[in-house]
Amino acid sequence: MFVILLTSSHIYKMRIRNVGAFILLVWVLIAASGCTHVKVTEQRLVSKPNMLFSDSPVFNYQSRFITQIEPGSAADGGNQGTGCTACQ
């Protein structure tokens, strides 16, 4: 699906540049992540519940309304992702 998406005719140079930069950035970050290793005996602090990126709403620090108010903060696709509630 994404191959079709990326090879469709409405791809502009900017888009290709963005994709290229994105792939490079991801690879650099992956590589950098692979370089890091913290010994398990030193992971006590980073394993505290409030240090984790949890799915639980108790540890989620962002309001759900943010994505409804701020067009650039929506993480989902579709309607909210574009902020396009009344596209023309």
């Binding site: 992956i30 398990v40 108790v58 701020e70 903060s73 023309q88």
Partner: protein
């Protein structure tokens, strides 16, 4: 000319080649380090390293070869490791006690679970952990030396050692199984049951063991102190390993009964590794003319190999609609009230110890936000009597499929998720004189691909990088990034920072961009009460919309948010209360957006939220 071209091309291609080589080497090196950590492991079938460790809160020393002829299960844990709690509990119940009752595995080979504590600080918390799990035989591997010898990666980390062929000198111990994360007692039992088959098929091992006192006697023949009841059991010189296990079991049973009063739920959970979570939460956001509510109920069940979740929610939008009279002579004030039910199903499954497949499916019916309802009302008041107008029926569905590779379990993963959604929206309308009513797009298809990277950077820093590309009908490709960095400043202070940016570039309409930064500083007053202050800033340069007469796109926006959060965390329950003011500030509304001047008016909001979580 061709020669010149060749000379010019040569260095360029060499440069490219070199760059590629350097990049490849960097990636290779870094992955090599990461992968090397994993591949340092001793593998099943390999000889097991010997060790000698002291027991928890005791001077007593224990050698692996004290259990020669038996099977030893090493359960590496730390008190702060949440999954370790259920793992150690289950191992004690369904491995240690199970085989104690049966006098060993089917070939009568005795089994001993050793809980290996790798955390030396906060012994009181470790003591609490031991009491909760009922771990009956705890050893101190405080510097993680043995964990490292076995190639430990992540917690919990389990190793099954086969000592059925071990000699009195300690040779012959083999690794039968090792795994980061717990696959359940059924898997461990299957491995244990297969050990000692050929060797002891003719002679029951326990008989042999009972007759071989010298080789199987634990090193502490004089006394063994129970780990959680401080009762000293005197073991006579002639006691065997099995007798010792039985005594331990008996002692454990006593202490487990005592524990059950202090920690009933942990006891109740014994025998199952499924943990259920029920999490209702409500958020309210209000201003002088808009009142928004989100009611949610999330249910999750997590197991050793699969998780399932169902979330249902109901959103309420209440608006005192007020047209901007100067630009809207047709409109009239009215009160709008709409509801939006929605659901989200999620499922994830371990394909192997390091790869997790996840899928979600969801749907909703109703207006997703107050702005779309406001715009819908505007168009309804303007055009509802005109041919071509159709009442909106907003709804949508969404699906996603993701693959996560935990290259350092618990510490580092990369996750790629593809999503697809369909949204029927409330369209915009335009009417030019002598032309039929123009109805805008009311159906959007969106595909997105997201990449998440989480990593522990230092003993105090954990990061999450999130990238996403979204392609939506009639829009340009949107790229968004969010980076989060959590910093354990001190023992009881955690700073969570987050920053994000979004770019959507259109050659004709211009570029939409936004960014946001925020932080949350949390202090734990004690083990249960947490208080935090937070602040956040957001800014964008206005939404892109292509229209002929009336533009409903959001003007450039700035928002400010700050407030406090109070969180209480108990054994199985927790709750959170948030109270925050929230300010939205728009740029001056341009002439073509004028009909929506009241919608895009500056507002001071109040945000209140309550969340409760129950684990059972």
């Amino acid at each position: 000319m061709a020669a010149i071209k060749a000379r010019v091309a040569q260095p360029a291609s060499n440069l490219l080649f070199m760059k590629a080589q350097v990049l490849r080497s960097m990636i290779g090196f870094c992955f090599g380090v990461g992968w090397g950590i994993l591949s340092l492991n001793a593998n099943p079938g390999d000889p097991a390293p010997q060790f000698e460790l002291s027991r928890w809160q005791s001077e007593e020393s224990v050698k692996l070869n004290d259990y020669q002829g038996g099977i030893v299960v090493l359960d590496f844990f730390a008190y702060w490791c949440v999954p370790c709690l259920t793992t150690s509990t289950d191992l004690e119940d369904n491995i240690q006690n199970y085989y104690s009752k049966l006098d060993g595995n089917p070939h009568r080979v005795p089994v001993r679970v050793m809980s290996m504590n790798i955390e030396s600080s906060y012994p009181k918390k470790t003591e609490q952990f031991i009491n909760k799990t009922g771990a009956s035989f705890v050893l101190n591997d405080s510097d993680g030396a043995i964990y490292k010898k076995f190639g430990g990666r992540g917690l919990p980390f389990l190793v099954v050692l086969d000592g059925t062929s071990a000699s009195t000198q300690g040779d012959g111990w083999k690794i039968a199984y090792q795994h980061a994360g717990y696959e359940g007692s059924a898997k461990i039992r299957a491995i244990i049951n297969a050990l000692g088959d050929s060797q002891f098929s003719s002679t029951p091992s326990n008989d042999r063991i009972r007759n071989d006192e010298t080789s199987l006697m634990p090193s502490t023949k004089a006394s063994i102190e129970s780990d959680h009841s401080n009762v000293v059991i005197n073991i006579p010189e002639k006691d065997t390993f099995i007798d010792h296990l039985e005594d331990q079991h008996e002692q454990h049973h006593i202490s487990a009964t005592a524990d059950s009063e202090s920690s009933p739920s942990v006891r109740r959970n014994r025998g199952t590794l499924r943990t259920h979570y029920l999490e209702p939460f409500v958020e309210v956001l209000w201003s002088s003319d808009i009142f928004l509510v989100e009611n949610n109920l999330d249910y999750r069940v997590t197991g050793p190999n699969a998780d399932f979740g169902l979330g249902v929610s109901y959103g309420i939008i209440d608006i005192d609609y007020e047209p901007f009279a100067a630009a809207d002579i047709v409109g009239f004030p009215t009160h709008l009230s709409e509801g939006r039910p929605s659901f989200l199903l999620s499922y994830s499954r371990n394909l192997n110890p390091m790869v997790i497949l996840s899928a979600t499916a969801g749907g909703y019916k109703g207006f997703t936000d107050h702005r779309s309802l406001w715009l819908d009302e505007y168009y309804r008041q303007q055009f509802s009597g005109i041919e071509g107008y159709l009442a909106a029926d907003p709804r949508g569905i969404n699906f996603s499929l993701g693959l996560r590779w935990e290259y350092i379990p618990g510490n580092g993963f990369i996750e790629v998720t593809g999503s697809y959604s369909e949204d029927y929206i409330s369209p915009g309308y335009e009417r030019i004189l002598f032309e039929p009513l123009f109805r805008g797009i009311d159906f959007l298809k969106s595909t997105s691909i997201g990449v998440n990277l989480e990593n522990v950077l230092t003993p105090r820093l954990r990061s999450l990088q999130q990238f996403q590309f979204i392609d939506t009908t009639s829009r340009e490709l949107r790229f968004s990034y969010q980076g989060s960095l959590n910093w354990a400043i001190k023992e009881s202070w955690v700073l969570r920072t987050v920053g994000g940016a979004t770019v959507e570039d259109d050659e004709n309409r211009g570029t939409f961009n936004s960014f946001s930064v925020g932080f949350n500083l949390e202090h734990d007053w004690n083990e249960t009460w947490f208080l935090s202050v937070a602040a956040r800033y957001y800014q964008d340069n206005g939404q892109i919309e292509e229209s002929l007469l009336v533009d409903s796109g959001v003007p450039p926006l700035q928002t400010f948010q700050s407030g406090i959060t109070l969180r209480w965390q108990g054994e199985e329950s927790s709750f959170k209360i948030i109270a925050q003011p929230y300010f939205t500030r728009f740029d001056t509304v341009k002439r073509d957006v004028a009909p929506f001047a009241n919608l895009y008016a500056d507002r001071n909001w109040g945000l209140f939220g309550f969340t409760y979580s129950r684990r059972f």
